[in-house]
């Protein structure tokens, strides 16, 4: 009880006497939290709403998210309807006009990337489809660079006093990042044309980037549970067109991919999908280092 009281006092004090004018960033998913941290350094305070073991489609507008959105200066979301189920509700309840869509305090990463996988038929019979295209853009490392530039510009706009700081951080990050992308592409050269199966259609950008060949998806329709009938059909396809591995994101259950991997004599590969998804994916660089290592291991 006493510690609770102390906690309240601290909270109240923190509220009445705001400390340094750090930008408070609310990131919906870990990759944008990590990117904001890379670009903002100690000038930003980043809160990440979800972790790598959660399905970003299925999050609830829970109390802690509303409280954090209330104090945020900048909301960094993926957009393209990835957070459609919860972010609008969080923003509506938070009572923070600064971070409403359309304001400088609201940034959507998918708005600066050309989206792939736009559904040919917009119908829920096709599953939980995203009308604007596949929102999982972070599986292609080049997209991180595409997002970094406008995100740094947004930080500069909101905190112009530190403009030089953000620009310097952006330049340093982009130098390191382009070198890393070259390295990843070299490392991933043997993956070109490697046939893979995906559990959820979440790796469109990765497949495109590294030149993998997506043979099938375990989910009959995006967002629907793999059914035995569909898995059997995938297995039949695999007997004709074998694949090297089945890919799934760290937040997904391994049951379906283990089942098919055993029967189709391929490897089940768990990819971090975002920062924190595996032990190796500690930061943005680790995310792709680990992703490519795991893919190479799966293809060998």
């Amino acid at each position: 009880m006493r510690s609770h009281f102390a906690g309240w006092c601290v909270a109240l004090a923190a509220w009445s006497f705001p400390a340094a004018a750090d930008l408070s960033v609310f990131a919906t998913v870990p990759e944008w939290g990590a990117l904001a941290q890379e670009l903002g350094g100690d000038k930003v305070k980043v809160y990440t709403a979800t972790n790598a073991l959660q399905d970003p489609h299925h999050v609830e507008a829970r109390p802690s998210l509303i409280a954090r959105a209330r104090g945020a200066d900048l909301v960094v979301a993926t957009g393209a309807e990835l957070e459609i189920g919860w972010l609008p509700l969080v923003l509506q309840q938070a009572g923070n006009p600064k971070v409403q869509p359309g304001r400088p305090g609201y940034f959507e990463a998918a708005s600066v990337v050309a989206l792939l996988g736009k559904p040919a038929r917009l119908d829920r019979a096709e599953g939980d489809v995203h009308p604007q295209g596949d929102p999982h853009i972070q599986t292609d490392a080049r997209n991180i660079a595409k997002v970094a530039v406008p995100l740094a510009a947004r930080l500069t706009e909101l905190d112009s006093a530190n403009a030089a700081f953000y620009q310097a951080r952006l330049k340093a990050f982009m130098d390191r990042w382009s070198a890393a992308v070259v390295r990843w592409e070299q490392q991933a050269a043997p993956l070109k044309g490697v046939p893979v199966v995906v559990q959820h259609k979440a790796f469109t950008y990765l497949v495109e980037w590294l030149g993998l060949k997506e043979i099938a998806a375990l989910e009959p329709k995006p967002g629907l549970e793999p059914t035995t009938a569909h898995l059997a059909a995938v297995l039949e396809t695999l007997q004709k067109t074998p694949a090297k591995m089945v890919l799934r994101a760290a937040y997904q259950s391994d049951r379906a991919s283990q089942w098919i991997a055993e029967r189709a004599k391929m490897k089940a590969v768990e990819l971090p999908f975002t920062v924190g998804g595996t032990d190796g994916a500690k930061d943005l660089f680790g995310l792709y280092d680990d992703t490519i290592q795991r893919l190479l291991k799966g293809a060998s």
Binding site: A61, P63, A67, G223
Partner: protein
Amino acid sequence: MFRLFMLPCACALALSLALPARAADPELDEIRAQIRELKSSYENRIQALEQRLKDAEAKAAAPAPMPAAPSSSISAFNPAVSVVLQGRYANLSRDPAKFALAGFAPGGEIGPGRRGFSLGESELAMFANVDDKFAGNLIASLTPENTVSVEEAYGLWLTAPYGLAPKFGRFFSGLGYLNEQHQHNWDFIDAPLAYQAFLGGQYANDGLQVKWVAPIDQYVELGAEAGNGDGFPGNARSRNGAGAATVFAHTGGDIGASHNWRAGLSYLRTRAQDRDYSLADRAGNDAAVAFTGSSRVAVADFIWKWAPNGNAHDTSFKLQGEYFRRVEDGDLTYDRDGTLGLTRTASFTSRQSGWYAQGVYQFMPLWRAGVRYDRLDSGSVDYGANAAFVAATDFSPKRYTVMLDYTPSEFSRFRLQFAQSRTLADVTDNQWFVQYILSLGAHGAHKY
């Protein structure tokens, strides 16, 4: 390309010329077969090459994908529209027309609903930003009796100062936990008995609501409402001022990645004018009575949710409970229509309470099972001088409910529910329900 294509043709031609098909020599046949094979193999390869070239050309010719330009048609400003379809089958061992909660004045929509097949409320919702400051939401309910009712119709002021979130129009009150949620989002087909007894099912206000979230990391939400107070336990009165006032406070948060919770306290104050109902008096007659006075309801609510790492795909659990207490003070008119010739008005006071607790466990993807326990306490009811005609009961209504539901996708759900309801002394109603809920259109919100 041209050369590549010409080469095998020329070879084939040269070969066929060099080896005219004159003799039916088996050797010649073999050669011919080989040529055919060669030809078809080259043709396949050329086709593959041509296809690759076409693909490359298409790729180069395709303009760099641009963000889609917004459609210029007037329909581009249409609001987000969604529809919820519901239906059910009920098997009730007691006639629902005789439903009553012993010791509690009835009001609003109470009881288990009709027997057999019936359509539930079909809900039509529209939401959009009005302009740069406001958003509007309309939720209409099309009832199975072919009437339309406005469940909610409110404006939201999105850019209000000081972190205030004002809402105005008709809305479900922020009272308690379940009240703000629409019935199709509930974990059971019907409202807890406490909601039925104290709020007539669900409490809506026509008026103004202001919510405020404290700008600290701990979630603290305070809210106040002023409304016309038409809803039970109040009723429509001709007055200029607010007929009902509500205040509430919520707090909550995360405990690690796997647990989160919310707790709240709410208080509603309203008045009733000649709120009439009928009850059985000491002589066994159905007497018409009317209450005039103040009604105050206090609610404490709590919910705790668990999912491993916050990922509710495979398993999850939620536990929720609410406690209600209502105090009514005023006058009760006995035999108000004079049928019994005994019309008399006397003071009336009641202090009653009720609660429910429920747990819902998702034991595998798509499947959930839940249990709920409801209990009401008739408390102390003082009829004053009318005690000569009317007796208070000390029976405590209760209900046990279990349910199983299956959610094939985020947009559909099927539920089986069984309840054993004892809301009157010596009466047990066994209630079986089968329900479906289908959501169409705009993606629904994952409300906590």
